[in-house]
Symmetry: C2
Subunit: 215 residues, 2 copies
């Protein structure tokens, strides 16, 4: 059976997004700096339909984002800025007609909505009965492959607290934000079962991979 | 003029010590794991008067702890477990007759005490008039060389908040403690002026060096 996993870029002082997140600045003040290493890679260029970008260690790590991923789960704030009831079916995510997922994507929300089929294999499903239900549906859709938690940080924390995460890949950017949204706050004992299985770095970022210890 | 600098090992979730620090367990629960990379080095073995230990990247980083250091500042909790008035002159630190500093060491305390001269060039001076006074005295003692903040985390935070730190070297261990003493809490805007000038890693730890941007 596949794993439940996530990938996240963090500042050295622990923030997955800067302070004052807004529609104009969804990563918060300074938050773009967390992802500069990724923007430079060929994988990111390809996701944007562009050419160029670096190959090598950072690109290898970026390529792992989608490796063996059969379904994705994301929080509603990651899907879009709309809160409360869906006013209509117009909002279909930040990613244009062909989102970079190419798998079913399960969006956590309190407000039901019909699935939205996009180009390139991505279909957004809206799950109103909680993170465990979303996990089960994603697991069913993924088959033998992994389920990735796409974000954001609060969705990741919910899955950590529930003890459901098998693997996490943390990209520690050489950046100090001073404030923002902490990934590892209020997760109780959820981290005790993990061990680091790989640590590699480029001058731009250090990549840590943790897996749940087999018990 | 020399720099004011510090070196610290942190967990990936931001802790410089584990929870429940005590006399028997001064690094807190799990805190030893932050320093395993260092214990393995030749530099650490030499500090302990032992032979052996690894050479290479981690050892090079450990060797920088004392490089060009002309004086050290430390908090009283790092000097010893005694609180309040000094009952006598018996406590002379954790480090035996010949501490590994080999320079003047300025201990922040509210309780005056005569200097204590140890073997090997270390003399402990007790400073009762605050962090800036300690910095001035250490600066005077260091000459052209650097002043190192020996720790602990709360002393480091005080110097960060005061805007006095020029360089920090952060060793990010591939460890998740879940709780403990955070280094980068409540430091306000103190981190905004720093930029990373080096990031290197071994499989055991990633080393980040930050310097204050010249303005």
């Amino acid at each position: 059976m596949g794993k439940l996993k996530f990938t996240i870029s963090m500042s050295l002082d622990g923030y997955a997004a800067g302070p004052n997140q807004s529609l104009d600045n969804p990563l918060g003040q300074g938050g773009m700096a967390l992802h500069e290493w990724a923007f430079a890679t060929r994988t990111f260029s390809e996701m944007q339909g562009r050419e160029g970008g670096s190959t090598g260690l950072d690109d290898d790590q970026a390529r792992l984002w989608s490796e063996n991923v059969g379904a994705v789960i994301m929080g509603r704030n990651m899907f879009g800025p709309i809160r409360g009831e869906w006013p209509d079916d117009e909002w279909k995510g930040w990613w244009g007609d062909e989102p970079p997922y190419h798998t079913p994507v399960f969006v956590l929300t309190h407000h039901a909505r019909e699935p939205v089929e996009m180009e390139g294999g991505t279909t957004f499903h809206f799950v109103t009965d909680g993170i465990e239900a979303a996990h089960e549906r994603a697991r069913g859709a993924a088959g033998d492959r992994d389920v990735a938690i796409g974000g954001g940080a609060s969705t990741v924390r919910q899955y950590l607290r529930a003890g459901l995460v098998d693997e996490m890949r943390i990209h520690m950017a050489p950046v100090l934000l001073g404030a923002g949204e902490r990934l590892f706050d209020d997760v109780g004992d959820a981290l005790a079962g993990f061990e680091c299985v790989e640590l590699v770095s480029s001058p731009a970022v250090a990549h840590y991979t943790f897996r749940r210890r087999s018990t």
